[in-house]
């Protein structure tokens, strides 16, 4: 018996205050439940699809950690071959690890074949399901269990992969970033995305309370600060052209974002902390320039 009240939950097991359920819920509402959901192994999958305790009221498939792009492509192909294209949209929800690291091959293949799929990466900036190990999308300076802070090292070294750039380079029709702190923007982007036939990529920033060391109270605030500092630019590409960005009226220094998260706290004490903070500020500054986030003059 299906006794669910919305397309996703309630009843899932995400930590109190987790960010990604907000993105999932908003996406499915926007699509009015007309979605074939493909989910990679990770937090979202584990908290929502335990056998007998499934909280998805839309068709849902989880296969492996690293093949969501290909599975979605297969669904798209099947819907075409069976003449069922009008039933709904194929939507992937995959973590940052599944997307940028282990599954980037199948993602690239799906983009390359331009399957009619909306691929949403919920970016909680580490392998959270397995206990906060670094991923290619963990930002510099973040402390994770595989990039711990030590006398020598100040957490993760190296940058976040530019998934937006990677997606745009595939020549797919629609690429955008969004954040759970801006639900109207997310809603609009989902709506816009499905107007395009072919592969769509949406990268959604979604805080993890345990991995980032924040209180549920701060989930939305932290996500908003990521945008307002310029660390997480909200941008939108259509057919390879940058068409819209979320302008920053009064940009905040990155410290405001960093200081309220446990994963960055050491940066204010560690000998290399200052250098990393500078690097992060530089990334934000670059984003502002690259995407024109601030109005000149």
């Amino acid at each position: 018996m299906n006794d669910i009240r919305s397309y996703f939950g309630p009843g899932h097991g995400a930590c109190p205050g987790c960010g990604f359920p907000i993105a999932v819920k908003i996406t499915l509402e926007t699509l009015e439940g007309k979605a074939f959901v493909v989910n990679s192994t990770g937090c979202l999958e584990i908290v929502s699809s335990m056998y007998g305790r499934n909280v998805w009221a839309v068709p849902y498939i989880h296969s492996l950690f690293e093949n969501a792009g290909a599975v979605a492509g297969g669904i798209d192909a099947a819907l075409k071959a069976l003449g069922r294209k009008n039933e709904g949209h194929v939507v992937v929800f995959a973590g940052d690890g599944a997307t940028a690291d282990i599954g980037i091959g199948t993602l690239s293949g799906m983009f390359d074949r331009n399957h009619d799929v909306l691929y949403i990466c919920y970016d909680n900036e580490a392998y959270q399901n397995t206990g906060n190990q670094q991923s290619g999308l963990t930002p510099p300076g973040a402390s994770t269990t595989t990039t711990p802070v030590g006398d020598l090292l100040p957490g993760k070294m190296g940058r976040k992969k530019d998934m937006i750039g990677i997606a745009v380079a595939h020549g797919i029709p629609y690429v955008a970033s969004a954040s759970i702190a801006f639900p109207n923007d997310l809603r609009r982007k989902v709506k816009r995305a499905i107007e395009f036939e072919g592969a769509k990529y949406l990268h959604v920033h979604a805080p993890c309370v345990t991995g980032w060391g924040i209180d549920g109270k701060l989930t939305v605030e932290v996500a908003r600060l990521a945008v307002e500092t310029g660390l997480y630019p909200l941008v939108e590409y259509e057919n390879g052209r940058l068409v819209r960005v979320m302008k920053l009226k009064k940009r905040k220094p990155v410290e405001e974002y960093l200081k309220i998260q446990r994963r960055f706290r050491h940066l204010f004490k560690h000998p290399l902390g200052e250098k990393i903070i500078k690097e992060l500020q530089q990334i934000a500054d670059e984003n502002v320039k690259r995407y024109g986030l601030e109005d000149e003059g």
Partner: protein
């Protein structure tokens, strides 16, 4: 005991009612219905989701389903009129002596 049913292809219908999460936290959210302006922000942001509109004296107000509220405080932080309070559940109201 009856036979365990396993769905072919590891599929199962949605089963919210068997996974109540309202006992997770020590607090839950409560909406002050007089203050509530039905802007929907808490409904948008609640990750469970477990806030819905109800009709109360011809007025639309938000109501929290305590069967599922995990007490994360997100609704509290996004409400523009401070209509949400976090209440400690009865069993956690210990007397400290």
């Amino acid at each position: 005991m009856g036979k365990v049913k396993i769905y072919l292809g590891a599929s199962s219908p949605a089963k919210t009612s068997e996974m109540k999460t309202g006992d997770w936290g020590t607090e839950w959210a409560k909406v002050d219905e007089d203050k509530c302006i039905a802007c929907g922000r808490c409904i948008t942001f609640c990750p469970e989701p477990c806030i819905e509109y109800v009709e109360k004296n011809d007025k639309k107000v938000a109501r929290v389903d305590t069967d599922y509220c995990k007490g994360c405080w997100i609704c509290f932080t996004v409400c523009p009129v401070d209509a949400i309070k976090m209440e400690t559940k009865e069993i956690y109201k210990l007397e400290v002596c």
